[in-house]
């Protein structure tokens, strides 16, 4: 059963109840029942359909990219060209242009990040899945923490721990008096706000996108079945769901890109000493 189907049964349940009206989808959307549950070392793992979608999306990404890279030659096939263009976009546009001359070694990480987020985002409009694993906070959080660890590690490695933390706390060129304000803000920003916003931005976009789609889809279904004059508004709600799907497509690409480009920017700050 899909989550929409869940919601639908909820709505129909409400419909059968004579006093009920439209029931908006709740956060329960993101907590489907576990298909399989187990516990290791006291940690509970529950494999829900969202986790299955997560694995399927990741596997699809791997298969797709492996296919594009298979038999890669100087003169690319159409499939190879697609994978290659995606990699070039990250490699040249971010690793080389954003991070700088030292950026190329980060291209594989950035490209992996981009495609991982992109394919998982895409699940939000993929038929029958229609929910992105990135709308579960755990996934963006994992990615943001990995990025956080990476840029701090690179910063310490490239600039030395003392220099890195000193530059983070006391940005060069700031008047001493302003440091009372700047230092806490800077420290908070580099070590807390950056990873948090990185994770929340992606999560919230996918979360809200899913909610919007569900609201309009359920709205259309409800209006069709309400049995009074409101039926005329059903196509409107359906049209909105359609428009929102295309909007979601834009968000899917945009958020994958933004996450990757911000990662590149943070890495740039770590590789290049502050001026």
């Amino acid at each position: 059963m899909t989550s929409s189907a869940h919601a639908l049964t909820d709505v129909l349940a409400v419909e059968s109840d004579p006093g009920g009206g439209f029931v908006a989808p709740t956060i329960a959307e993101f907590y489907p029942p576990a298909i399989f549950e187990f516990s290791v070392l006291g940690i509970d793992f529950s494999i829900t359909r969202i986790i299955l979608i997560f694995w399927l999306a990741t596997a699809a990404m791997l298969v797709f990219l492996l296919l594009t890279a298979r038999n890669a030659s100087i003169v690319p096939s159409k499939l190879q060209y697609i994978g290659e263009s995606g990699y070039s976009l990250i490699r040249d546009g971010m690793a080389r242009d954003v991070i700088g001359p030292k950026g190329l070694p980060f291209a594989p990480f950035l490209a992996s990040l981009f495609f991982f987020i992109l394919f998982n985002n895409f699940m939000s409009i993929f038929p029958f899945a229609q929910i992105s694993p990135n709308s579960k906070f755990a996934i963006p959080l994992v990615l943001a923490v990995i990025v956080w660890v990476l840029y701090n590690y690179i910063g310490i490695k490239e600039q030395g721990a003392a220099r890195y933390f000193k530059d983070a706390a006391i940005p060069p060129g700031v008047p001493a008096a302003a440091l009372i304000l700047v230092t806490p803000i800077e420290l908070l920003q580099v070590f807390v706000i950056r990873p948090f916003t990185l994770a929340v931005r992606l999560f919230a976009n996918m979360f809200a996108g899913h909610m919007l789609l569900v609201v309009f889809s359920l709205g259309a279904v409800y209006l069709f079945s309400v049995g009074n004059f409101s039926v005329v508004f059903a196509p409107l709600s359906f049209l909105m769901a359609l428009i929102m799907t295309f909007f979601e497509l834009l968000v899917i690409f945009l958020q994958a890109y933004v996450f990757t480009v911000l990662t590149a920017t943070y890495l740039n700050g770590a590789v290049e000493p502050a001026h």
Binding site: A28, A69, Q80, E84, Y87, A138, I146
Partner: protein, 195 residues
């Protein structure tokens, strides 16, 4: 259905299990991509760059070769031109030489012809003179004998007289024009013979 579980859940506090699943999944994805996909693309980019650079180098080499060939050709052309000019000059000089040689030869020939003509003329004249000498001698003796009325038996004396006379004649004509030519003042006999 599971609204009770959902209501108690904070979406910003994910369960640890999900975090672990997410970490492992991303790690696997990253390692597969970093091992099997991105290096292939890097390899292709490198090969492509090398192919392009190789192509440029080849084109440069070909251009240099073409330039060298053109220069060689132009040099050959210039050489051929000078050679042609040299040949022309030589031919002209040779022609001039041949012309001069021919002229000299013609002059020589004409001089030779003239000389031969003169020789022949001189020989003819000598012959005529010799003939005339005999005839004039006989005629003169005959005439003198008739005028004197006596026969001069003594041939030795006679020939001596005649010879003396002729020598006198000769001496006269040699005195007038030694080469026997164009002498307007010579004896009438001699002048007639010359004609």
């Amino acid at each position: 259905m599971n609204t009770l579980a959902a209501e108690s859940a904070n979406p910003l506090l994910p369960p640890v299990g999900e975090i672990i699943i997410g970490t492992i999944t991303f790690a696997i994805a990253f390692f597969v991509l970093a091992r099997f996909v991105w290096p292939r693309f890097e390899q292709v980019f490198r090969a492509r760059r090398e192919a392009i650079e190789g192509g440029i180098e080849r084109a440069e080499a070909m251009q240099a070769e073409a330039k060298a060939a053109l220069e060689r050709y132009q040099a050959q052309l210039a050489e051929a031109r000078t050679e042609a000019a040299q040949i022309r000059d030589q031919a002209r000089a040779e022609g001039q030489q041949i012309l001069e040689e021919l002229r000299a030869q013609a002059q020589q020939e004409s001089a030779r012809i003239v000389a031969r003509g003169e020789e022949q003329l001189a020989a003819n004249r000598q012959q005529v003179v010799n003939e005339l000498r005999g005839q004039i001698g006989a005629l003169a003796v005959d005439l003198a004998g008739r005028v004197v009325g006596e026969s001069l038996e003594d041939s030795a004396r006679r020939s001596g007289t005649v010879d003396r006379f002729l020598d006198q004649l000769d001496g006269m004509s040699a005195g007038a024009s030694p080469n026997g030519r164009g002498g307007a003042t010579g004896s009438s006999v001699y002048v007639q013979g010359d004609r």
